[in-house]
């Protein structure tokens, strides 16, 4: 995009390539291209910033739907349920959230190690709790995840925790039994703490393609999602699929993950996100 560049078909093809390779998907890409055709066809770009601003505004209105702020409980512990498919970054993202609340915002944090299935999942979260210096409730491997959630709720109330974050096992949205298990964990939280879970975050790996839409669809049907945590945005993937997700489900991105240590977290900025795609 530069001054004097004519908005012709070949220019639109270049934009299309940028959008598709950013994982925006065919439909969202076509719609934006159509929008640009109507507004700019055959005109010269007099002001590249304004042109990019036009694209930004169009996309940002999607990305801001649902709000990008974290919901907190009016009183008592704020409960955050974290879910997502295998390997997307849930446990590491929880460490980042714990760091954010505990060390940066100075709030008392409790972690619930409700992934009792995967090898060394509890150990992994435990190491993070030790490093950050926050509380953790864990059972032995193979224990019932709902039971861990139950005990964590009791502990949160007894210890006066301000934020409780629940780690769950990775599961594919197509595994009905495991989705039922997730619903059960949510019911336990809702029953034990007023208004819980106040946030249900789906962690989405930024390298994920169009399958992300099916993930959001089915997870949202099981446990109403309040936001997304877009992980691994420090790689080369742009995570453009969240634009389609926001359009279709109005579920906003609340945080982004930019690395493997607990400080690598940032609140989501629609502005930065769009600029990373269009330069």
């Amino acid at each position: 995009v530069r001054i004097g560049r004519r908005v012709d078909e070949s220019f639109l093809e270049e934009l299309e390539e940028a959008m598709i390779t950013a994982d925006m998907g065919v439909q969202t890409t076509q719609e934006l291209l159509e929008h640009l055709r109507e507004a700019y066809m055959d005109r010269e770009i007099e002001d590249p910033k304004a042109f990019l601003g036009y694209i930004s505004n169009y996309l940002e209105q999607h990305l801001r739907r649902g709000g990008n702020e974290l919901i907190t409980a009016p009183s008592g512990p704020t409960v955050i349920l974290v879910c997502g498919v295998n390997g997307c970054g849930k446990t590491t993202s929880i460490a980042k959230l714990a760091y954010h609340f505990h060390r940066v915002e100075n709030r008392k944090v409790l972690l619930a190690a409700s992934d009792t299935f995967r090898a060394a999942a509890v150990e992994q979260l435990d190491v993070w709790a030790q490093r950050i210096g926050c509380d953790i409730v864990k059972h032995k491997s193979g224990a019932d995840p709902g039971a861990v959630a139950y005990d964590a709720c009791a502990a949160a109330k007894a210890r006066g925790s301000e934020v409780m974050i629940v780690d769950t096992a990775g599961r594919l949205h197509t595994q009905t039994g495991l989705m039922k298990e997730l619903e059960k964990i949510r019911r336990v939280l809702a029953k034990q703490i007023e208004g819980a879970p106040h946030e249900t975050l789906l962690v989405l790996d930024a390298t994920t393609g169009q399958n992300a839409l099916a993930q959001v669809d089915l997870f949202h049907q099981s446990v109403p999602l309040s936001g997304l945590f877009l992980s691994k945005l420090d790689g080369t993937a742009k995570g453009g699929v969240v634009i389609s997700i926001n359009r279709q489900f109005e579920i906003p991105v609340k945080f982004i993950g930019l690395g493997e240590s607990y400080e690598d977290i940032q609140p989501f900025s629609p502005d930065d996100f769009v600029h990373a795609i269009f330069g």
């Binding site: 390539e17 598709i20 390779t21 950013a22 994982d23 998907g25 065919v26 498919v85 295998n86 390997g87 997307c88 970054g89 995967r118 090898a119 060394a120 999942a121 150990e123 992994q124 435990d126 190491v127 993070w128 594919l172 949205h173 197509t174 790996d205 930024a206 390298t207 994920t208 393609g209 169009q210 399958n211 992300a212 099916a214 691994k232 420090d234 790689g235 080369t236 993937a237 699929v241 493997e260």
Partner: protein, 291 residues
């Protein structure tokens, strides 16, 4: 399914008179959309549709008895041919333990796949050794030890050691303990992390693996090409293992990776349990991508 809708698209185009070169090109737009929605990379789709269009026109499909069926068949056949034949070969080391190195992006399924591969090899009469070379991720060594125990395979590591030293020393340990295969589980890393990519090259230099497997998540989108290309250029990957195929991702990344690196997809992961490793079937993958 896409195959049915492609058929009806070409039928419609053909119905107004007969199938012309222009209508073939128009119909290919739908193939393009189908492949992009399946996460096949933009450049790979461009090249693929060009190839199929040329073939459809060249084979004079226009004049055949059932042109739309012919075109859909060409798309299927080209896709399957591109995916390559079934190949589960693991090159054997003539002088010492066979070394298999597992590499890939974070969370792609390497550690789990190491366990599955170990079990697969045990069932073929081998004595593999698992090597815990991920010293960074919390609980990674514990994870591989538990995985190893679940498949009855020893795990070698040096707590406090560096990945390169662990991998190098594991070979001697294997020989001393009569293990004929060494499986190196490395830490997930970004292809743009210079230090960590150099670390992989160092491990490769000192252990000279017979097989380097790039472990990729089947739900990866357009980025599959960037990361696969970089891993391949640095290491000359021998094969690819596609994980989480038990989900409903169409898996277009498989076509992209194959087209860009030319390397074979040897196995697919179809679940979290240790018996969930299958050989790759190009015809099934082609059908899945087309949808």
């Amino acid at each position: 399914t896409i195959t049915k809708s492609l058929q009806s698209t070409f039928d419609k185009l053909g119905r107004r008179g007969r199938l012309t070169e222009k209508s073939i090109r128009d119909g290919m737009r739908e193939v393009r959309t189908a492949l992009l929605s399946a996460d096949v990379h933009f450049d790979v789709v461009k090249e693929f549709t060009r190839k199929v269009t040329d073939r459809a026109i060249g084979e004079n499909v226009i004049k055949t008895v059932a042109p739309s069926e012919q075109i859909v068949k060409i798309v299927h056949d080209e896709l399957e041919a591109l995916m390559g034949p079934t190949d589960t070969s693991i090159r054997e080391n003539a002088s010492g333990p066979t070394v298999i190195m597992m590499v890939g992006l974070q969370g792609s399924g390497k550690t789990t796949t190491c366990g599955k591969l170990a079990q697969y090899l045990v069932r073929k009469g081998h004595r593999p050794l698992l090597v815990a070379a991920d010293v960074k991720r919390p609980g990674a060594i514990d994870q591989l030890e538990i995985v190893g125990e679940s498949v009855g395979v020893d795990v070698f590591t040096i707590r406090g050691g560096s990945p390169t030293a662990i991998c190098r020393k594991s070979i001697r340990h294997a020989t001393q303990n009569e293990k004929d295969i060494v499986i190196l589980d490395t830490a997930g890393r970004l292809h743009i992390d210079e230090t960590l990519m150099v670390e992989l090259v160092e491990i490769q230099r000192s252990t000279k693996p017979q097989e380097i497997f790039l472990v990729c998540d089947a739900m990866t989108g357009q980025d599959a090409v960037k990361s696969a290309k970089e891993f391949d250029q640095r290491l000359a990957v021998d094969g690819v293992i596609l994980t989480k195929m038990d989900g409903d991702a169409r898996g277009g990344a498989a076509l992209s990776i194959r087209a860009i690196t030319g390397k074979p997809i040897k196995f697919v992961g179809t679940g979290e349990k240790m018996d969930r490793l299958e050989e790759f079937h190009p015809d099934r993958m082609a059908g899945r991508i087309l949808g």
